[in-house]
Symmetry: C2
Subunit: 208 residues, 2 copies
Amino acid sequence: MNSHSRTQRSDGIRSREAILDEAARLATVAGLDGLSIGRLADAVGMSKSGLYAHFRSKEELQLATIETATAFFFSRIVEPAQQAPDGLGRLRLLLDGFLDYVEGGVYPGGCFFASVAAEMDTRPGRVRDSAIRLSLQWIQLLADAIRDAQAEGSLHAGEDADQLAFELNAYLLLSNAQYVALQNGMPIARAKSAIAARLAAAGAAPKA
Amino acid sequence: MNSHSRTQRSDGIRSREAILDEAARLATVAGLDGLSIGRLADAVGMSKSGLYAHFRSKEELQLATIETATAFFFSRIVEPAQQAPDGLGRLRLLLDGFLDYVEGGVYPGGCFFASVAAEMDTRPGRVRDSAIRLSLQWIQLLADAIRDAQAEGSLHAGEDADQLAFELNAYLLLSNAQYVALQNGMPIARAKSAIAARLAAAGAAPKA
């Protein structure tokens, strides 16, 4: 798309992708449940009927929003980490990537998935399942990187990989929650310090 | 109140305290924002006008609900911990008390304060401030107990008390989030294991 057609589009018709990016931002503030088609129409400056052309129901909009946020999370954090030459490097890129994503203020309510999982955890259905799926995938990515690092001898073989993944993820998620609530960098620094100490205790050489 | 007057009351007029206990449970599922007077009236089996006699606005209801949940949190976790003879004992009672409160299923959405802080963090106002106040008090209680334990020689003086409090609290909050989402005891066990290892690394003698 060239800049001319972008300008034309800004008059009212926005791309599905741009609408869903805005929906994801809104969901971290108002909740996925607060993501009505009317509210989103106001946020993107389109008519409700214009939005209905994209999404026929609130549930469809919620699921598409989760899909968009998932794709963003993978492209921003997970895929770059796959470039690391080894397990420990991948683990560190995943952890640092998460903290950068929180601190970068992509979403006003912090990590999209922490936000929607906290909201949806007690409400059975497709939206809840979809919101929780990425949280579980994320834990698995951390544990897999730890296992690779153990096989490569850069983390102690005696560490329980799932337990270590839990502890590292705990630092990330508290950091996210406090960063959003307090709006200062201290929780990010605390998480980095906790991660460095925990990885050193697990046998990792200091970060290059 | 004797059991006779209790029976009479159950016909429709419920005590302010019972209404607010129900409001707190509802808030961990529907959110504090989902806590409308109409929805609460349905949950407690009262008329909306009967509830308006107790709370004149949604904000007043939200603030009273936070106050009730705070009082419960103190009586259930904080006050019993004050009975410990020393700082390390108090720290352990606070940590165990929190996990018991999550596992005990007091609220269907887990810790009331984690739930409402995640919802309200981006919405400035009295409700947000009140919801976040207890989270900050809680961190202070943990850090104070750690400092007392350091002064008493039961934790290493070289530990940064605020950093250690952050790490221990991180295990609690991830455990809470995962317990609600997954409905099994594994996250509680992981938090206990993380706490035991972290306190041992900080110099604590094994739990008696």
